[in-house]
Symmetry: C2
Subunit: 459 residues, 2 copies
């Protein structure tokens, strides 16, 4: 039993050139663990270790390496060596790798692959990014309705090594239409002479090739599936998405949401923070920073317009940054909840009135509470600050309290509205969230602040 | 084949009181689908439907209902009825439900449960929240090393209905120590007379009961597991966490991260936005809003201190909100990336120097770029704004550019540093992120702005 890779053992075997020990080491551990250990080697050592392994294991471990390392190696390997690995990789990993290779390398590689693999790659890479079609694998197990349980079991035994999972088998009619599902659990519990169509579940949860990958992953999560079948428009089975892919998709979407939320552009891959170059990070961040900085100047102009008011009432200036921050914070809170509820499919754009009403009911007490606190703050602690003769502290307190309350109320509503509007317009809700929102409610907030102050203070 | 629940059919069966049709409907669909459909019924109708089903299916569908609905029903059902359901639920769902019931209800229920279930509940609920122990189930399949494959298969056939999964069986020695793993795939591929210890994988990925649930879930994701065994300190097997629980954990942690990130306190459950009362939302949001508003007043005092400067150089006021926003945005960007990299275990607190160096390399060009843009902006478009005699636009431009550059640089570094510091102090990194950070870099930013301006403008 072991929880951490033990790279030192392998390094010693390599040093001693003990081929048998290297082979045993790689065969005895989980491919992902071996991948971790090998990832620390030089590419030459890494390739030396891989050549010692039998082709299937070699491809499995290669597929478990970091994708950037896979690509680096693919670019230096001889074509035949690469082709052999690619031929033995699982269908979805193969397509993933090929899509990321330079085009000339792809072209060079395709003729060296077996006919079936070539067609499979063409088909799988034809689906749009982030669809169920683009992430599915074609290594699934199928049965026909008229097979018996014992026939099915022998078929699965024969095919097991090539299939991503044999725990679910999909039952297809003569047109390859998906008509049923049997689990391996069903099969080993059933009488050997029972027919598959007496046994199979007919209520199948599935996705279409064109469905969003995240919707597919959420189905796997909701229905606790080991794999989700993917069908084309005529309901023929064309692939499956497995439970481990679902976790990867959900992680990727989480990273994407968080980064978009904080105004970071780019590819949003998980686990690539340190690997991404400084220049890459720079590019991903600069666009929004500049755009928002430009938008931020609008707040400046508003402040400039009310210069005279600020000079008269220095106490207003004290509350200005707090007002902007509080608006940004309350807007970010509602935006976060709405973006998240949209992401987990709890709400849809049709729920807009329900959401706005809920946010209104939350925002009113928040606004009242913060307003009352601000009023108290002015009344009890702003005695000394400069103000024109004849203006009572309580009027000023009222003006600040009213402005803050209105700011919290509008910012909360805008925070809920923006992601819903973005979703309605088929943009990603996360992208209009926090930083953009903060800058927007800064502008509305300052406008509210100065308008309210002018009205209440009668200037 | 069907992708959406079809509640109308069921409603008609209920109206017609067609018990057979109701039973068939519930048995033919996935329990999660049935749960969706039943969730729309009144609790009386819902209970009527459940009573028509055989106990195991009833418990399975009950377990698929929304947790709030489960609790609502649990509080109204007769003790025997509830006990029967609870007895048939899977071990982890049962503990989850019981933990959320009021204590008197728990006490009342326990004596009505079978002895084995009672002990199981006591054991499972003794682990701290958010540990692997608290989310594991005790419904796992075990084998002993000296069994043959055919003996193992008959044992699994007998036990299958009570186990969460039979696709992985765990091999225990006489002390219940975990010594191996065989998959059902291995078993059906092996010769029937082969011994389990010749077949089993000895390199097992596992978690300890006290491990963080998220670490356990990340292991399931990394190693593509269907289930992860959980052991106690003496390496004895005490439970498993299944792949579907891993997705739930990852989703829950993500919701938690996003909400903490946006300064929302509370339980951070996924998919509960609409169900949470306005009062609940209010409570979750008000603490941080008030705390940050109080902190925001510090920025106000800084502004107030430099009132004189602002009156002389109105152009500075124009750039003030932009400076605060840009600092908040660049800090949020680095904080997001660091929080996410910590969450997916790409980096740890030990990588602090690597992270700071990376952020420094990203922040310098961002600072230079934004500084240059601000300088150009002042030079070309601020001709008309009021400034004292003898101060050239380019000096003012330089002051603003330098302040903005420094602000971006410090905010980016603070954004990276805060989550790492929080993680080091065993706080959740997400909690010090966006809103708190925005407010902090507002303060540092205004301080930088006025200090730089005073120095460069020589006042």
């Amino acid at each position: 039993m072991r929880n951490q890779p033990i790279p030192t053992a392998l390094l010693e075997f390599i040093k001693a050139n003990d081929e048998k020990a290297i082979q045993d080491f790689c065969a005895s551990l989980h491919p992902a663990s071996v991948g971790d250990v090998l990832g620390a080697l030089s590419s030459q050592e890494l390739w030396h270790v891989l050549t010692l392994l039998e082709p299937r294991l070699r491809a499995e471990i290669f597929g478990a390496l970091d994708q950037s390392l896979q690509i680096e190696m693919a670019e230096t390997l001889r074509r035949q060596d690469l082709a052999q690995i690619v031929n033995h990789m699982s269908a979805d990993e193969r397509v993933d790798l090929l899509k990321r290779l330079p085009e000339d390398k792809q072209e060079a590689l395709l003729p060296a692959l077996a006919q079936a693999e070539r067609e499979d790659i063409r088909r799988l890479s034809s689906y749009a990014e982030e669809t169920a079609g683009a992430v599915m694998t074609s290594d699934y197990a199928t049965l026909s309705p008229d097979q018996t349980v014992s026939e099915a079991l022998s078929k699965l035994r024969r095919e097991a090594p090539d299939k991503e999972t044999i725990y679910y088998s999909y039952v297809l009619d003569s047109d390859r239409k998906l008509v049923g599902l049997v689990s391996l659990r069903d099969l080993i519990l059933a009488r050997p002479d029972k027919r598959i169509d007496e046994l199979m579940h007919r209520d199948i949860i599935y996705a279409f090739v064109t469905d969003d990958q995240e919707d597919a992953a959420r189905k796997i999560a909701k229905y606790d599936l080991i794999a989700l079948p993917v069908v084309n428009s005529s309901k023929a089975l064309v692939g499956i998405i497995t439970h481990d892919d679902a976790i990867d998709i959900i992680n990727q979407e989480h990273t994407e949401d968080m980064e978009k939320f904080m105004a970071i552009t780019g590819s949003h891959e998980t686990g690539t923070y340190l690997k991404t170059s400084s220049w890459g990070h720079f590019k991903n961040r600069c666009v929004w920073l500049v755009a928002l900085a430009a938008l931020g100047l609008v707040s400046g102009y508003i402040v400039q317009n009310y210069e005279g008011l600020l000079i008269q009432f220095a106490v207003l200036a004290t509350f200005m940054p707090m007002l902007a921050d509080t608006g940004g914070n309350s807007g970010s809170q509602s935006a976060t909840l709405v973006v998240r509820a949209l992401a987990v499919r709890e709400i849809s754009t049709g729920d807009i009135l329900k959401v706005l009403w809920k946010e209104f009911k939350v925002a009113v007490p928040l606004a009242v509470m913060l307003g009352v606190l601000a009023f108290g703050r002015v009344l009890f602690f702003a005695e000394g600050s400069s103000r024109p003769e004849g203006q009572s502290l309580s009027t000023i307190g009222l003006a600040i309290a009213a402005a803050l309350g209105l700011q919290v109320l509008t910012a909360t509503m805008i925070g809920a509205l923006l992601p819903l509007a973005a979703a309605k317009l088929k943009f990603d809700p996360a992208v209009v969230a926090s930083p953009a929102l903060t800058t927007i409610v800064d502008i509305t907030g300052l406008f509210i602040f100065f308008t309210t102050a002018t009205l209440i203070l009668g200037i």
